[in-house]
Amino acid sequence: MKKFLLEYANVFAYTITGLIFGLAFFLLFINFYHMQELAETVDVSSYNDTNKATVESKIETIRNNISVYNQSTYTGSLNIYGLNTVQLKLQDCLEILESEDMMKYFELDEIGIKDSYNFTLDFKNKILNDCLVMQVKSMFNTDTVSMLPNFNVIKPYVELNLDTLLDSTNYVQSNIENSDHYYFSTETNKANFFNLVDDSYSDVMNSYQNSLDLLVEVSNWYRNVVLGG
């Protein structure tokens, strides 16, 4: 009986050791696999060249549009405080757009998950918050600007687009942050992950271009206001 129990204990011990061996083997190699996945880079050189050209052309359009007004030479009848405010706010946005912190992403030939994530954060902090909310949205809440022509047309347009843009990259940020959690992977999340770097970057870049389009529209309105008045 004792011999049987001892043999049974031995078999049980080997079973436990075998199961733990399997689990440890799985966890160790899945870690190497996950490490490789996270180190994955995507070639964006040609994509960035095209985007850089588009962004530079839009920035140039905004600059030209806001330079039509000069307080010292302006002879129109519109409120100059309103015109000054719009010009200054758009000028601040231009500085943010042309800052090294934002332009550095267009110089990258290859991007990793970290670059995608940093781009998402910089876009949210600098373009969405510092430019669109702090400058453009606040601009439309000032009394002097509300006296400018077609204010009632441009304001709802800007607010509608702004609301869409503010939420546009939240899911991208969450997706990237969730890539740190790695349990047992499925085919679906593997497929998602391989595209995560590329997709996140493209999504944020699209939102970036949409933000620029919005600024171009605002600057066009400003140009028409100045020249019309």
Binding site: T17, I20, A24, L27, L28, N31, M35, I113, K114, H181
Partner: protein, 151 residues
């Protein structure tokens, strides 16, 4: 050859246990400092490590061949402890994991936290297997039965 590998894994498991314990302690202490939690709350997480260390020392002192000369058990110990070391090192050093930098702690607690349950399962499992491997027939009895069989 088998003996050489066995002694290699036997020695390695002690080194890896100390490394795994040290790194786990480091991550847990950093996490508790960040959360401003009492340091005593780290202790339950260290029980499986302490238990395994005590069992290894008992195996060594009483020269328990059922465990010490069991190459499969020693290999599994090395694999488990290497996994814990790998997970802890990644939580600290793998900067591709974005949450590592996001909060500026220098340690990705979310990632490490995912593996805490597995670490406990594996360490408790190894302790149970160790205790079960301790029980075996005395050698003189085994030799006697072998002699009887030969006769």
């Amino acid at each position: 050859m088998k003996k050489i590998f066995n002694w290699l894994f036997y020695g390695l498991k002690f080194l890896l246990l100390i490394a795994a314990l040290g790194l786990t302690l480091f991550v847990l202490i950093r996490m508790n400092v960040r959360l401003e939690k009492n340091m005593m709350s780290v202790l339950p997480e260290l029980i499986p490590f302490a238990l395994l260390l005590i069992l290894f020392i008992v195996n060594m002192i009483f020269k328990q061949k059922g465990v010490n000369e069991n190459i499969f058990y020693n290999l599994t110990c090395c694999l488990v402890l290497a996994t814990i070391v790998c997970v802890a090192l990644r939580a600290v050093l793998d900067t591709n994991m974005v949450l590592n930098e996001k909060y500026g702690y220098g340690v990705d607690f979310n990632f490490f936290d995912n593996f805490v349950a597995y670490i406990n399962i594996m360490l408790y499992g190894l302790s149970i297997a160790n205790i079960l491997f301790m029980f075996r027939e005395k050698e003189d009895k085994v030799q006697k039965s072998k002699k009887l069989k030969k006769a």
